[in-house]
C-alpha cells in the first residue's frame, strides 16, 4: 500500500503552529503511521512552495489524493473530526484516502470502488 503525503503549512514557530503540528502528528503517528507521511512546511522559510500550493491561511493541511486535493484549515484540536477526515480509526486502519473521499459526497461512489481495489 502506497503511503500518502500530507503537507502541513504553518507560519513560524508560534504557539498556534506548534499546537497544530503536535495535534496532527500525534493522530497520524498513533493511528496511521503506515498510511501517511507528514511534512511540515513553514511559509516564512518556503514562500515559493506556499505560492505554488496557493496557501492563504495557516495552519493548512494539504492532501493531494487521487480525487483532487483537500485543504483543511484549523489547529486540528478536534481529534474525532480530523480522524474522520483522514480515515483514521482507533480500531482498524482503513485504506488510505477512504476517509477523505467519503467526506466528499459527490465522490462517494467512486470512493467505494477505490476501497474495493485497495482492500
Amino acid at each position: 500500500m502506497s503511503r500518502q503525503l500530507l503537507k502541513l503549512y504553518i507560519t513560524g514557530r508560534t504557539r498556534r503552529a506548534q499546537e497544530a503540528v503536535h495535534n496532527l502528528r500525534t493522530l497520524v503517528e498513533t493511528y496511521g503511521p503506515e498510511m501517511y507521511d507528514l511534512v511540515v512546511i513553514d511559509v516564512l522559510e518556503n514562500p515559493e512552495q506556499a505560492e505554488a500550493d496557493k496557501i492563504l491561511a495557516t495552519p493548512t493541511l494539504l492532501q493531494t489524493g487521487p480525487y483532487g486535493a483537500v485543504r483543511v484549515v484549523g489547529d486540528f484540536s478536534e481529534s474525532a473530526r480530523v480522524m474522520q477526515l483522514l480515515g483514521l480509526s482507533t480500531t482498524t486502519a482503513y485504506a488510505a484516502g477512504a476517509g477523505w473521499n467519503a467526506s466528499k459526497s459527490k465522490n462517494v461512489d467512486s470512493a467505494e470502488g477505490q476501497d474495493g481495489d485497495q482492500g
Binding site: P47, E51, A57, P59, T60, V70, R71, V73, S77
Partner: protein
Amino acid sequence: MAIKGSASGVEKVEVGFEGFDIISYGGIPERRVTLVAGTSGSAKTLFGAQFLAEGIKHGEHGVFVTFEESPEDMRANFRSMGWEITEWEHNGLWSFVDATPSTDQEIVLSSNFDLGGLLARIEHAVKKTGATRVSVDAIGAIFGTFGNISAVRGELLRMVTSLKRLGVTSVITAERDAEYGAIARFGVEEYVADNVIVLRNVLEDEKRRRTIEILKFRGTSHQKGEFPFSIVPGRGIVIIPLSALELRQSSSNVRISSGNQQIDAMCGGGFYRDSIVLVSGATGTGKTLMTTEFMAGGAKNGERCLLFAFEESREQLVRNAIGWGVDYNKWEDEGKLKVVCVYPEVASLEDHLIEIKDAVDAFNPQRVAVDSLSALERISTAKGFREFIISVTSFIKHREVAGLFTSTTPTLTGSSSVTETHISTLTDSIILLRYVEMYGEMRRGITVLKMRGSMHEKQIREFRIDASGMHIGKAFKNIAGILSGNPQHVSALEEERLKDMFADG
C-alpha cells in the same frame, strides 16, 4: 517619485492616471494603504492594475494580489490597455500573488487560523521584485472563503500593518453594495480608513456615468467631490478634472478676425485671440455659417483651424461651405484646417471630451470651433453636460486659442438655451442670432450681447445670407422686444419721447 504634499508631512506618490494627480494634489499617500471602494463593474480591478502599470512606466515595480480574477484572465484582459503583463513578469517588474479560490475542497475546522500563508507570499513577492507598489483586489472575496468574518477582519488588519511595514504604497479594493451608502462590505474600511477613494458607475436617466471621489486622505489635502472619468483603450482610466482647470491663462489684447468684417466692426475690431465666443440662435439662423466664416477667416491668415461638427455630416458641411464660397477640402489639403465630424450618440460625453482634447493636442490649432454644443446636450444628463461645458471651455481657454461655440435655442424666436445658462459666464463674448417676425415676414437679427474687455455695438442689426456669406445691414428701427421673441412696432414719436426722457433724467 514622491513629491511634497501640501503643507503636511505626508508625501505623495504620483499615480500617473491622467487627471488623478490633479484632483489628488500629487497622488496617493506614500507608504500607506489606500482603500478603493466601488460596486461591481466600477473599474476597481482596472484601478489597481493601472496603479502598478503606471508605476512600471516610471521604473517602480509592483505586486498584484488577486482574490477574484485569475492571473491568466488579467494578462489577457489588460492586453487591450497595452500592458504586456507577461513580459513584465518575465522581466521581474510585475509579480502576481494568486489568492483566487482553489478548486480544492476546503474545510475550515475552526477559527483558529491566520493568513500567514498569504502574508508570507506577499512579502516574498515584494522582496523578490523589489516592488514599491502593491495592489490587492478585491478584499471581500476572502470573507467568503473562510466564513468567519471577525477572524478574517483581524487578519486583514495584520495584512495592512504588514504592507505598511514593508514600506510599499498600496491600493486595496473592496466591493460595495450600493453607489451611495456604506463604504464597503464587511466594514473593512475601519482598518484601512486613512485613505479612501470611491469609484461609482451610476445609472442616471438611462445613462451610465462613471465618477471618482477622493473621500479622505488622512493628513493631507485633495479636491472634494465626484469627478467624471472614462476608460480609454490603451490608456485606462482617464479622469476629467473639472474645477482643476483653473483660469491661469494670460489675457491677450491681440484681435483676430471673425472672418466677417462687419461682425468685426460690431465687436469693436474683432475677437480677442484667446477668447471664447458663444453664438446662440435658433435652427437656420446662420450659426453654421458664422462657424464657417470663422474657420475660413483663420485659414486665410495662415492660422491652423480645428472644427468639431456634431450636427452635420462631413459631406453636408463641405457642400454648405462651398455654397458660401469656402473650400474646406482645399484648406484641409494645405494642412490649415481639420474637420472632425462625430455623431453625438456614438460615445459618452466624457469620451467626446477626451476626443476633443486629444484632437486639440494633436493638431495644435489657433482656432477651435464646436458646432454645436447643444447637439451634445441630448446624450447627457443636465449635470454631466454642465461639467462637460465647464471642462471643454476651461481646456480651450487654457490652451490660449480662440474658440467659437454655437448653441441652438429651443424655440424659433426669443428664448435662451440650457447651453447658454451653463456657458454664458465662461465665455468672453456672446453673439445672438434671432429670427424677427415683422409684418408677416421672417427676418434675421444679430446683436453682440457681451464683449469682455472691449466696447461693442449695442444695436440689433438685420442681416441676410447669400452665396457669398453673411451681410450685416442696418439696425432695426422702431422695433422693441426682439430678444424676448415679441417684436412690436414702436412709433417714431414714441422713440423720440423715450430719448428725451432719458436725456433729461
